[in-house]
Symmetry: C2
Subunit: 230 residues, 2 copies
């Protein structure tokens, strides 16, 4: 069951078919390795090539440019999401689980979330599978076409943004993260209460709560809202 090759990739794809088809896979997996160990900024054509024992120029036979490589890596990552079977009664939980998985998977590969928001639309086969699953869940829940289309967009956007925020500080050591946190806390603690009465009054609430709780809060808002929209 194959998906057509997008037109903007066809030249590279044709070139690849002349040689071993496994090499593109190897390049993408190597790039993913690099991403996991050193973060998005470290993923350069030179470093990927170096890990493969070749020069950067060789990669351009398999990939049109760096952006295309990153999109392929992204789809590999999205493939880690496991899709739920249909169960219309639990559509809210199923939706939430998909978004949770999206966040988990994107967060596990630091920086890849940025690629999502730079890309027009995720068109890789795995991304399509996820979209298909989400839309099927929403449709089985009786939502109108318009709501389904918009909801998929919004949920994906929210998941991506959360993942992006969560991996923003990758590359810092634990000590640096802690230092930064205490600096921010001190900064907020020193804000003048007459100019920022609400912020200073709510400081404890602002500092409390884990990333997870904040994410779940937003997710609940969205899904609750969907429950009352057809």
């Amino acid at each position: 069951m194959s998906v057509p090759v997008p037109p903007w990739r066809q030249r590279a794809a044709r070139e690849r078919s002349v040689k071993q088809p496994l090499s593109l896979d190897l390049i993408v997996r190597t790039a993913l390795d690099l991403l996991d160990t050193e973060g998005l900024d470290a993923v350069s054509m030179r470093k990927v090539a170096q890990r493969l024992g070749t020069g950067a120029a060789s990669l351009y036979a398999y990939v049109r440019n760096k952006d295309e490589l990153l999109e392929l890596v992204l789809d590999l990552v999205i493939g880690e999401i496991t899709l739920p079977g249909p169960d219309p009664a639990k559509w809210q939980d199923q939706l939430k689980d998909l978004v949770r998985q999206q966040v988990a998977v994107l967060s596990a590969h630091p920086g890849i979330a940025q690629v999502v928001l730079r890309t027009p639309a995720p068109t890789g086969p795995n991304a399509l599978d996820v979209s298909e699953a989400m839309m099927a869940i929403l449709r089985a829940a009786g939502k109108s076409d318009r709501v389904v289309a918009f909801a998929v967009d919004v949920l994906a956007l929210y998941g991506t943004a959360v993942a992006m925020e969560r991996t923003a500080d990758f590359g810092l050591t634990e000590a640096e993260r802690h230092e930064r946190l205490t600096q921010v806390q001190q900064y907020f603690a020193e804000l003048p209460p007459d100019r920022f009465p609400t912020i200073t009054a709510l400081l404890p609430a602002l500092m409390s709560g884990t990333d997870e709780e904040r994410f779940e809060f937003g997710l609940s808002l969205l899904v609750q809202g969907l429950a009352t929209t057809n």
Copy 2:
């Protein structure tokens, strides 16, 4: 007794007299100009310095590094948001307007939204004013401290993500944008219906709707959700 300035010295003398002295404010405004005209990628220390008639090294007397410069630009941009006076009866509209303004303002300066998601937390004075206003609105609406704190986070994140998505294709010509769009449409039209039944069935709905409608849909979900949460 004064002697006229030799011609071979006049150019330098003229440049200096016309050139404004370097200042942090001037640097930040110049960077914003560059951002508006050529996009985030074009904002390099070298180009900013060039516009000021100097070298990149000179900027480092006013700014620790490029990230700090971008954060200053970001706060300048956020300052364009006009804050509402208190009116507890209309808290939902007020919230929505703030997020709409956030999106509008971030979208007007292409790429600056990326800076938000790379930064730990927006700590500039203007960002603080916006947070203060949002939290005041929510508090006046009777929300608990916890809900206020989480809601501000979620709304800001959503607004930023929308702005980021919206400015992702800056720098492409209108023709390139159109070409890309038709390619994507064709690609989706060619998807096998047996593997992607829902996507292919909902194609018209997926393609319909403006950015604005999609944004408003998500915003309504969030604010509706907030209306039923204390």
